[in-house]
Symmetry: C2
Subunit: 306 residues, 2 copies
């Protein structure tokens, strides 16, 4: 099965207590694609500038990611600069340059049209909606968003939520969408806006999957831990890597059962934990499926009674 993902491919300058990297390859669609590529076919839709060359494209190619939807535009690629010096759980943004992304009009290659899975990474909800509508045949649609769209683009965001099967966001975003600090109540409110499944990410404490209206009773709730890490080198892209592992695993399954959702939560946490171990996409580029399965087992040991 194949996932089509639309989102940003970017350059990031990142500073963390472990050091600094200038203009490393980043962007939500990049992290998502690399992560999901260990589980299923991935097709990416994004725009890049003239500064995106063969070295960057080879990162995708090495993982067999379909880049026919990677549009080249005159100008520079999307650029983000941020740091995590005081708090590894929250980036402080120093600079954002949209560049070619400012006029991004997603174009879906004909070869992508038979994708069964669609992931709408964190971009303008107007664009998310456009891509979703252009791919009516997909079986399962997941997506992400962020505080900026929640706060100032509510109406457009709500239209996207109506078309989502699964929304993946963090605690703060869930509480902000719902206007409610209680996680269970907030989850119910968010699901009331459309998504049947909600994954709320808790950073170093893992993530919770909510499904259905009885989420408070626990019957429709599943919690995956995060791995306690000796050193978090760079948390950039951990959430997108989680989404890639989670959705990539679902796309690899013949049948999407409740058990598949549980394992998908674990694979999400597994991929998020790897992403933090090196700067940018470095760790994801080096991974093997054996590394992933060994860590999956480690997550099982970390949480299971016997």
């Amino acid at each position: 099965m194949a996932i089509t993902v639309v989102g940003s491919v970017a350059y990031d300058t990142i500073e963390t207590p472990a050091g600094r990297r200038e203009r490393c390859l980043g962007g939500a669609a990049t992290y998502f694609s690399l992560s999901a590529s260990f589980f299923c076919d991935v097709r990416v839709i994004a725009v890049v500038g003239e500064d995106f060359g063969p070295d960057q494209e080879s990162v995708f190619k090495a993982r067999n990611i379909d880049t026919r939807g990677l549009e080249r535009a005159p100008g520079k690629s999307f650029f983000w600069e941020g740091s995590y010096l005081e708090n590894l759980n929250e980036a402080k943004t120093h600079n954002t340059e949209l560049n070619v992304f400012a006029s991004f009009e997603p174009k879906i290659p004909a070869a992508y049209s038979d994708s069964d899975f669609l992931f709408l990474a964190n971009i303008d909800p107007v664009l998310q909606k456009r891509v979703r509508d252009a791919m009516p045949g997909v079986k399962l649609v997941a997506g992400d968003t962020m505080n900026f769209w929640i706060k100032d683009h509510r109406a457009a965001l709500e239209k996207v939520l109506q078309g989502l099967d699964i929304l993946l966001i963090n605690d703060g975003e869930a509480r902000m969408i719902a206007g409610n600090n209680n996680l269970v109540q907030a989850a119910r409110a968010v699901m009331g806006l459309g998504p049947r499944f909600l994954v709320v990410k808790h950073g170093e404490y893992g993530a919770t999957l909510f499904h259905g209206s009885k989420s408070n009773s626990g019957e429709h709730t599943f919690r995956a831990p995060a791995l306690p890490l000796e050193q978090v080198v760079d948390p950039t892209g951990a959430g997108d890597s989680f989404a890639g592992g989670f959705f990539g695993y679902l796309a690899s399954q013949k049948e999407i059962t409740p058990g598949a959702f549980r394992r998908a939560m674990f694979y999400g946490s597994v991929m998020g934990s790897f992403a933090c171990e090196r700067f940018g996409t470095e760790r994801l580029q080096q991974l093997t499926r054996a590394d992933i399965d060994a860590r999956f087992q480690q997550f099982r040991d970390l949480t299971h009674l016997d």
Copy 2:
């Protein structure tokens, strides 16, 4: 098997978004005793004032808790007033009156001397050390502490830590003791001060058990979730209730295996979740063992792949 616990028995005035209660029965030793009493015999050592009457004592008696170590002193019982209006994860203290606790000299009844388990609830480490030294025959000693002792009574606290098998604290306390924000590194530093096992509580995100020096690799780490609760009525005593479920379950086991520690983490989370559902000790007083086992199963469903 019996646990002797030394700590506070107090009156609490509590305000939360769910309401306000004046002078309800509280204190770390109270929550711990009630919680542990569902698993093993419990013997309490504390001091109370003339305001502690038969109604309060009957709360202990109803759970068959041995109160021969409950000393009556002239004056008023320890009193605490706090609120959780802005943040349910952290109490704001408005008033603390030590009263009879100011001159507390723990006296250990002869009938307690054959206890195999000792819990040193959060009190002055000088007193914790005195009780620990007076009970050299115990097989397993666990304890708690708080920011006040960590910050201003470090030397006395370090003497207590040297005599502990298990320390139960929260994230902030672990980071404060270690002077290190990374949880894995902080856990290793804390265990370097004495305790072979460290339980770090993450509030609504559960708790992590660390054991041994290889905690970073996950082999000696176990994570129990907290239950996503529809409404947290009153988080007061949740940590002490966790400790009671955790240590009470260990004390109920013929052999303390790694599996017993894992189940103990779940029972700790189970008892902490109940404590939050009503004000003060109300929920713990009404519980049955069937309620506890049903929720244990719910925690398993919440975390296990199959």
